[in-house]
């Protein structure tokens, strides 16, 4: 029983290794390069520029994480807070 689980798990651990990280990096670069080919409907000026969505997505996520950390540092409480 225990053995089967271990074997079924093995491929997953190898996949999350260095190879996978390299592959992901390649995908990211290719995705940005596609901006040279695909035409966006420019609505507000900035949104049609090269790689806009890519850096915006990263930045938005970064800001949201910072916001979450700020909220967390202010409002995190132990689970027993409301136990009366």
């Amino acid at each position: 029983m225990r053995d089967t689980r271990r074997t079924s798990k093995a491929p997953l651990t190898t996949l999350t290794g260095k190879d996978m990280r390299k592959a992901a990096l390649v995908i990211l670069i290719v995705l940005v390069l596609f901006d040279l080919v695909v035409k966006h409907h420019e609505v507000f000026g900035i949104d049609g520029t090269f790689g806009f969505v890519a850096w915006f997505g990263a930045l938005a996520c970064f800001c949201l994480i910072l916001l979450a950390l700020a909220v967390g540092s202010l409002l995190r409480a132990p689970e027993s807070t409301y136990d009366d």
Binding site: H40, V53, I65
Partner: protein, 562 residues
């Protein structure tokens, strides 16, 4: 008229709920699955146009079947079926019966053509959903009670609004309104309570995780989505809704990013997703409303799927905290797979239902030249990776290995339910036309353009990159994040205690206060009378007689002056 009322999908489900109470064994299961299917069939055979009736001298329209109603009706009936299938193993008859009543309430609201009918179904939903929460067991009692209080508050606001609206305009039909009078503000407020809008959003994350593994599936489907539906009907294009929606979306993301409990996390996700819909209603163009309708339909399925996944994990492992979970993919492969489909759908990955629906709302903001809203919606779309899009599947099914948990995939009925939901997410994403023809407005929309696909892929992959780089900061940690419910759970409780003391003393003090004034008068007038303060003591009969005299005097005085 009577027959069409009896054959309405809502009434059918009510009959099913009743039948559930009196059956056992295989008949029980057949009823549980059969009546949602029957409701689905009845939705498509709903009488076209409207059915009218009379109550208190008002023309009622218990059934109004137009395109929007049919879409939501079909989705709700479908979701009721999926939920029932998932819950087939659940032994609590009360929960299952309440679930059917709850679904009936939602269908009743969907087909209601007038405010009075709507309200009755609305309250039925509130009661039935409270019972579902209660079925979560002993620890769910207090959250259920708070849930009931918030929903009754919403109900009262809605009732007052409806009564005022009818009194002022004499019109009972649900039509598109502008919030320009106090009854309409009250209606809007009542709807927003159910939509999970601030300041009452905390009920979602308070009550839903308290329910059982099966109960939350039903809860996640109906209450918030019916609120979105009624908002679409009654308040399209109310600008304030855009901002309320965006606040909800950001709130959901931030709180979900911090959350440790998977089911609480999903509750925040529900609020966040609702935010996008509420914002879409606020934009209010035909494209935006189509987007909201489509997104509600898609969200019902993928949210239910994710909640089912969480329910399976809870049932199979007995744990819901991510800090206790991890690397479950090997043990629960099908559940993990379902979770990934759900995650992709909620992240609006191309070829999933989320992609074909959410992009309509985002595009509507662009077409309407609302740059701020467009940017915010884009940011919110990126933020999905912080919760169910990446964080949840990552931490539960992959992530760091935890002490091994002995568990496997859940029983067959639950697996089938998850598989069906996952298939639906993909089918809608691949063949969106089936969904698009059911939308209320005639708008041609092509989701699969190179630009759309590329934007979404870039957005998600770079957001994921950021998350990957900063993943250690968002590790699950035990604890909760204080929310606005603190306001009524803490100072509220202190205040109530204080008020208790206050009122207990207040009457006595009021009476003795007045009595002492009277005593002063009395001493002044009849100085030879015995010990002072005879009035000062509280004697109910004496006090009563005094009040009587006082009122008599007051009455005469007013009469004399008037």
């Amino acid at each position: 008229m009577t027959t069409s009322l009896l054959t309405s999908p809502a009434s059918a489900l009510l009959v099913g709920a009743l039948a559930l109470l009196f059956t056992r064994g295989i008949a029980h299961k057949i009823i549980l699955l059969g009546f949602p299917v029957l409701a689905l069939i009845l939705v498509f055979h709903a009488p076209t146009g409207s059915v009218t009736a009379n109550y208190l001298g008002y023309a009622l329209t218990p059934i109004r079947a137009d395109a929007l109603a049919l879409l939501f009706g079909a989705v709700f009936a479908l979701a009721a079926f999926l939920g029932a299938l998932f819950a087939l193993d659940r032994s609590s008859t009360l929960e299952l019966s309440s679930a059917l009543v709850y679904a009936a309430g939602a269908l009743g609201v969907v087909f209601a053509g007038d405010w009075i009918t709507l309200f009755v179904w609305w309250e039925i939903m509130a009661i039935a959903s409270t019972l579902i929460v209660v079925c979560g067991g002993e620890k769910a009692y207090r959250p259920a009670f708070r849930y009931a209080l918030v929903h009754f508050l919403g109900g009262v606001l809605l009732m007052a609004g409806i009564a005022g609206e009818i009194a002022m305009s004499g019109n009972t039909t649900i039509t598109s309104l502008k919030p320009d009078s106090w009854p309409r503000w009250l209606i809007l407020a009542g709807l927003l309570v159910n939509a999970g809008a601030p300041p009452f959003w905390a009920w979602v994350s308070d009550a839903y995780p308290a329910s059982s593994w099966s109960g939350m599936v039903f809860l996640s489907v109906f209450t918030t989505k019916t609120a979105a539906y009624v908002l679409m009907r009654a308040f399209p294009g109310v600008e304030g809704l855009i901002w309320i929606g965006l606040v909800m979306a950001v709130y959901g993301i931030v709180y979900a990013a911090l959350e440790n409990d998977i089911r609480r996390l999903l509750a925040f996700v529900i609020v966040s997703q609702m935010g996008i819909k509420v914002a879409g209603v606020g934009i209010g163009t035909p494209l935006a409303l189509n987007g909201v309708a489509a997104h509600s339909a898609a969200a019902v399925i993928y949210t239910a799927l994710l909640v089912m996944v969480a329910g399976s994990v809870m049932r199979q492992t007995g744990k819901t905290r991510m800090s206790d979970l991890g690397s479950l993919a090997a043990a629960m492969p099908l559940t993990a797979f379902a979770c990934m489909i759900g995650a992709l759908a909620i992240a609006a990955f191309p070829l999933t239902s989320g992609f074909v629906s959410k992009s309509m709302i985002v595009d509507a903001a662009a077409k309407q030249h609302l740059p701020g809203v467009w940017i915010a919606l884009l940011a919110v779309s990126a933020g999905v990776v912080l919760h169910a899009g990446l964080r949840l599947p990552w931490l539960v099914f992959f992530g760091a290995p935890k002490p091994r948990i002995a568990a496997g995939d859940p029983p067959q009925s639950m697996r089938i339910a998850m598989a069906l939901a996952a298939v639906l997410c993909m089918v809608i994403g691949i063949v969106p036309d089936g969904l698009y023809v059911m939308l209320p407005h005639q708008v041609t929309y092509v989701p699969y353009t190179a630009s759309h696909v590329l934007v979404q892929l870039q957005l998600l992959s770079f957001a994921a990159l950021t998350f990957y780089l900063m993943r250690d900061l968002l590790k699950p940690q035990p604890g909760i994040t204080l929310d606005l419910d603190w306001l009524y759970r803490r100072p509220g409780a202190w205040l109530a205690c204080g008020f208790d003391d206050l009122t207990a003393g207040a009457w006595t003090r009021l009476v003795s206060g007045i009595n002492s004034k009277a005593a002063w008068l009395h001493d002044l007038l009849v100085t030879h009378h015995g010990p002072t303060g005879t009035f000062g003591r509280t004697w109910p009969t004496g006090t009563m007689a005094f009040w009587t005299t006082f009122l008599l005097g007051a009455f005469l005085l007013i009469a004399a002056l008037g």
